[in-house]
């Protein structure tokens, strides 16, 4: 019997050695270890043995079984590893083939930049306020210290609906509406469409977008205006960005300024993009004119404030190096898909 067991073990181990796939292994397992397998068959004969021999043989049989099981599991592991290797090899891809994309759209470039600016202002505590585009002459001009026949109106070629109704030329009209309704402190931006009677060319469209800001409170100073614009530009363009103020005139602010930003292209050295100036004109700003405050029922002796207006198109064109304004309103998908 001992010999028989040893023979079984030898045979099993040899078979395992030969085995090349998991199917053969299974056959081996059944043949030797299965319910009807050879070891079981041997064990069935145990009854014929003497009481003396039985435990010895039992032990031996178990040992043989354990050894076969171990070898089997080793062989299984080996074969699994081999198969895994093979399958990995066979599944190897050309990773340079194109990816499968889930199609996604995109916001219009103007609104990409608009959202960014809105985020910056919200972070600085500015509410976003909107107002009508078809506006009364009063809110668009008169309340902004530009009575009828005021020469400054010439700088804003206006579309008229009738004598007293216009397409707003600036979103400052929203500031007036806000000041009339809201008690200071006021901290708002008013983004939106504005209209000027300019024929479309590379740098003009009859419709464009402005983002105007207004801050009214006790003790607001011109240095606060400088600081606010400085912070805005640094957040939009990075800490190295520099601004420059030049005296200018707007009927609704006093003092008034035009604000330039250091040319991104040359860093202020002067290049063809900035016409050798080192700076590019960016926005208009100033301290809200006391007449404007008064007209809105805010006492200029108690409150002061500043306002500024940014042109969204200019910022967008600068950001994406777009050289023709009309592209923004042509809506060619070959253009829109680039952002």
């Amino acid at each position: 019997m001992k010999e028989a067991l040893e023979k079984i073990q030898k045979g099993a181990l040899a078979a395992l050695e030969e085995a090349k796939d998991s199917k053969v292994l299974e056959e081996i397992r059944v043949k030797y270890l299965g319910k009807k397998g050879e070891i079981t068959a041997i064990l069935k004969q145990m009854g014929k043995l003497s009481a003396d021999e039985r435990p010895k043989m039992g032990q031996l049989a178990n040992k043989v079984r354990a050894e076969i099981e171990e070898s089997l599991s080793n062989a299984q592991a080996k074969i699994k590893e081999k198969m895994r290797e093979q399958s990995l090899k066979s599944e190897t891809l050309d990773v340079t083939l194109p990816g499968k994309k889930i199609s996604q759209g995109q916001l219009h470039p103007l609104n990409i930049v608009m959202s960014e600016i809105e985020e910056v202002f919200m972070g600085m505590g500015f509410d976003i306020v909107e107002g009508p585009e078809v506006e009364t002459d009063h809110y668009c001009f008169e309340a902004l210290n530009m009575p009828k026949d005021h020469p400054a109106r010439d700088t804003q070629d206006t579309f008229y609906i009738d004598e007293n109704t216009v397409l707003r030329t600036q979103t400052s009209s929203v500031q007036i509406r806000t000041m009339e309704k809201t008690k200071p402190p006021i901290r708002i931006i008013s983004p939106g469409r504005v209209y000027r009677s300019d024929t479309a060319d590379a740098t003009h469209t009859p419709i464009f977008h402005q983002i105007e800001g207004l801050v009214i409170d006790k003790g607001v100073t011109m240095s606060d205006l400088v600081g606010t614009l400085d912070m805005l530009m640094k957040r939009l363009y990075g800490d190295d960005c520099k601004i420059r103020l030049r005296p200018h005139h707007f009927p609704y602010t006093e003092p008034s300024a035009e604000v330039d930003i250091m040319c991104f292209n040359c860093g202020g050295k002067g290049c063809s993009m900035c016409k050798q100036e080192g700076f590019v004109e960016l926005l208009g700003a100033g301290m809200v004119h006391p007449k404007v405050l008064e007209g809105c029922g805010i006492d200029p002796e108690v409150y002061s404030g500043f306002a500024f207006g940014l042109g969204l198109e200019r910022l967008t064109m600068g950001r994406f190096s777009i050289n023709d304004l009309r592209l923004l309103y042509d809506n060619d998908l070959r253009f829109l898909r680039q952002f």
Binding site: M122, I128, P132, E133, A152, F159
Partner: protein, 801 residues
């Protein structure tokens, strides 16, 4: 305003300051320089020469051979074809290697075998006209006159005074004082701290009573606050001297004759327009300043007859208007070669009136652009005195020593409170009071008794913020510190702003690109969309002065905007398009302003046919879902009571979304006629969602529902029914019949064709049931299905297989 730097240097010496720095510094104190231009910059190696001899060319009947002395050791031989040269003439000589305006280069060469070492120049070749040198001829060599430096070999630009620099300032509308040399001298003085040499004009005059020559009556004193008339007799009309012509040229004004030039010169120097009349043509020798009569006509100096209205102000004589006040003179008001007596006018007219008159008549002039900004009547007297002074200096007439002065000006002081503490508080600066006073005084302000008093031509000074600006700009805007606004502010987006953001991100996530379209459209765009003639959409807000018909009305529907973009992309041969925009529609109201309504418009096409009605419907449903809108009904577009755009859609392939009786959206395939109108050769799908109404019905509140504890049972069912029973009805029937345990009904097949009787369709649903309390038994599910089958059979549906 174009400033001659020579002229400026007459009154303040800044000639040693680099022109770039000059422009930069002036800009930074508030006089913005647009550009500058140096005269004759393109001219080099052109010198003064004297013709020693002029002999005909042997081999030519029109060329002559000249020997020219250009101050060198040897005379030059130059061949020319000009007929007007003779020995002894002084001429401009372009030497070998010289350059002329327009990029012309001169090199020596041979003309018919004769060596020519350069070229003799005409006025035109130097970029000049006979206005600059009236004694020269257009088509011949420029023979230099006594007013030129005739030193041989002298650079021509120096010799003829073609060496000024003209600086173009962008003067803002509040600073008419800076539309003058004197105003800019003042600014330069404050900017550079150099001494200014401005003087007051003086003249001698001849005795005579002006009333013997002229009378003046101002009928409208409100619109004409001052009128000064002066007389110059025995005038000698002729060209003005070179220095005057030069300065006019550099200022962009063409020299005409001495009297016209004097009025222009004074306008440029003092910023005050003047006028000169020929007394012969002033009927009755009487000047009347009055309103025009309606329909009255005047032939203006530019030879155009213009009809006037009674709100316009004119200068008239006894019989006729002779000038539109402050705008332009009449045909006969000008100075002729035989004029003997000149009337000088220095007057002050109401700015808004001049602006309106000039605009109405379509003639903006140098004069009107100054008057309209508001001039001070006190500027009239210095202006006319300067004109007198110039007449005497030029020796071109005798000035009467009396004038008629009708002065109705209020001589208001232009001043404001000066409080250095307030100014520092307002600017956020710490400028010492003494410095502030110094800055103000450099601008000719007087500071006293807590007031800063501006010179009278500073009509813009009204309040203390104006004073703060004066100080800030001379102190330097960029020296103002940068501080952070204090105080707490809480910014938040409005519900509408959040709602729109959600809609946009839902559209972008579905692969759509946002567009930006014009808000104005052509009224014909509605024809293209088949919109009925009586539709309310046909009553738009109309722009009274549009750029063209295509942009003449504010859109009442955003649909044409999106169709336009689809058509454009189709024409660009873009194979597919998926676009959207949140666009505004402008709807007239009873009130002053129209309603401005927000709409989501969607457009798509795919030339490969990968999109259809249901793709679009899915998009619309997804966007509504993400905007918190559910529980709506979809009905055929033909049943819409709200959307007039339904006419633009395919009648069988368009629908409207209704919730709580409110129509929120219309969508579908565009009508084939519309596609044809837009020239699009592929099916297009469009939708319009009313955002304002949708926001009201949106509910974005999310409440967690416990995850199911028990398994669901799913049964599939297929049946045949009439083809015109809408799926929505079948689903409703199934839901109602299955009862509480129903979890979902999902359509997975609709089939018509072989094996299905015509007029019928086969429909298959997957029905999922679940109980919250127990595992459903087969029996429970079977019972529910039996009820479903029964309910369906009542609709005439027959179970298949």
């Amino acid at each position: 305003m174009n400033l001659s730097m020579k002229w400026l240097n007459d009154y303040i010496d800044v000639s040693d300051i680099d022109i770039k720095k000059f422009c930069y510094d002036m800009t930074m104190t508030g006089s913005k320089v647009e550009r500058y231009e140096t005269e004759g910059a393109e001219i080099s190696k052109v010198v003064v020469g004297k013709l020693l001899s002029v002999v005909p060319h042997e081999d030519s009947d029109h060329l002559v051979v000249c020997m020219v002395d250009v101050g060198g050791s040897e005379p030059l031989q130059i061949v020319t074809g000009a007929p007007n040269v003779k020995a002894g003439d002084y001429v401009p000589v372009a030497l070998d290697g010289s350059t002329l305006p327009g990029g012309v280069k001169i090199k020596k060469g041979k003309l018919r075998g004769k060596e020519s070492n350069g070229m003799l120049c005409s006025l035109g070749e130097l970029g000049l006209t006979t206005h600059d040198f009236p004694y020269a001829i257009e088509d011949g060599i420029f023979l230099l006159g006594d007013d030129c430096d005739l030193t041989l070999g002298k650079d021509i630009k120096e010799a003829i005074g073609l060496n000024d620099t003209s600086v173009e300032f962008e003067i803002t509308s509040n600073r008419p004082d800076c539309m003058s040399v004197r105003g800019l001298v003042r600014e330069a003085h404050a900017t550079f701290g150099r001494e200014s040499r401005l003087t007051e004009p003086e003249y001698t005059g001849v005795d005579g009573n002006i009333n013997d020559y002229l009378s003046v009556e101002v009928k409208n004193k409100e619109l004409c606050s001052r009128y000064i008339g002066g007389i110059v007799k025995n005038v000698k009309i002729g060209p003005s001297p070179r220095w005057m012509r030069e300065r006019l040229r550099a200022s962009g004004v063409r020299p005409i004759n001495n009297f016209v030039d004097i009025t222009n010169y004074v306008m440029l120097e003092y910023g005050h327009p003047m006028h000169a009349f020929d007394l012969r043509y002033v009927d009755g020798a009487k000047i009347i300043v009055r309103n025009a009569a309606d329909g009255e006509k005047i032939m203006t100096l530019d030879g155009v007859e213009r009809e006037l209205t009674s709100d316009m102000l004119v200068i008239a004589d006894e019989n006729k208007p002779v000038a539109v006040a402050g705008v332009m003179g009449g045909e006969y008001s000008g100075i002729m070669d035989d004029t003997e007596t000149v009337v000088f006018e220095a007057a002050c007219f109401d700015g808004p009136t001049v602006r309106r008159d000039a605009k109405k008549l379509g003639m903006r002039t140098d004069a009107s652009s100054r008057f309209e900004k508001g001039l001070d009547p006190r500027n009239c007297m210095p202006a006319i005195l300067r004109a007198f002074e110039l007449v005497e200096e030029l020796g071109c007439g005798e000035v009467l020593n009396t004038v008629i002065d009708c002065d109705y000006g209020d001589n208001k002081e232009h001043s404001a409170e000066f409080d250095h503490n307030w100014i520092n508080g307002f600017l956020g600066t710490n400028i010492p009071e003494a410095d502030m006073i110094k800055y103000l005084e450099s601008l000719d302000f007087t500071v006293r008794d807590g007031k800063a008093i501006a010179p009278y031509d500073r009509i813009d000074i009204e309040c203390k913020a104006d004073i703060a600006e004066e100080i800030a700009r001379i102190y330097g805007y960029n020296k103002i510190p940068s501080t952070i606004i204090t105080g707490v502010a809480n910014a938040k987006r409005t519900p509408m702003q959040k709602f729109k953001a959600k809609i946009k991100s839902a559209m972008v996530a579905q692969g759509f690109y946002e567009t930006a379209t014009y808000s104005f459209v052509s009224p014909k765009s509605l024809d293209k969309l088949n919109i009925p003639a009586d539709s309310k959409l046909r009553d738009p807000v109309v722009i009274s002065n549009p750029l063209g018909e295509d942009t003449s009305v504010m859109r009442t529907t955003a649909l044409p905007s999106i169709c336009e973009v689809l058509a454009r992309n189709y024409n660009y041969r873009n194979m597919s398009a998926s676009i959207f925009e949140i666009a505004t529609e402008y709807i007239k109201t009873e009130g002053v302003l129209p309603d401005e309504l927000s709409r989501l418009v969607i457009g798509m096409y795919d030339t490969d046919g990968n999109v259809d009605f249901f793709t679009l419907k899915g998009v619309v449903e997804t966007v509504l879902e993400s905007a918190g809108i559910s529980g709506y009904e979809v009905i055929r577009a033909a049943n819409s009571k709200c959307f007039d755009e339904t006419a633009a859609f395919h009648p069988g392939r368009s629908a409207v979304i209704v919730k709580n009786g409110k129509e929120l959206a219309v969508f579908g395939e565009l009508h084939p006629d519309v596609l044809e109108n837009y020239g699009v050769g592929t099916r297009c799908y469009c939708a319009k969602v009313n955002i304002d109404e949708s926001l009201k019905l949106s509910d974005s509140k999310k409440v967690y529902k416990p995850l199911p504890k028990f398994p669901a049972t799913t049964r599939d069912i297929s049946f045949v029914c009439d083809e015109d029973i809408p799926a929505a009805k079948l689903e409703k029937t199934i839901s109602a019949a299955a009862g509480k345990i129903l979890e979902s009904v999902t359509l997975f097949d609709v089939y018509q064709g072989e094996q299905i009787e015509s007029g019928k369709k086969s429909v298959s649903y997957s029905i999922t049931m679940r109980s919250q309390n127990e595992t459903l038994t087969d029996e429970q599910a079977d019972n529910a299905m039996k009820k479903v089958v029964k309910a369906l059979s009542e609709l005439g549906a027959e179970l298949r297989g």
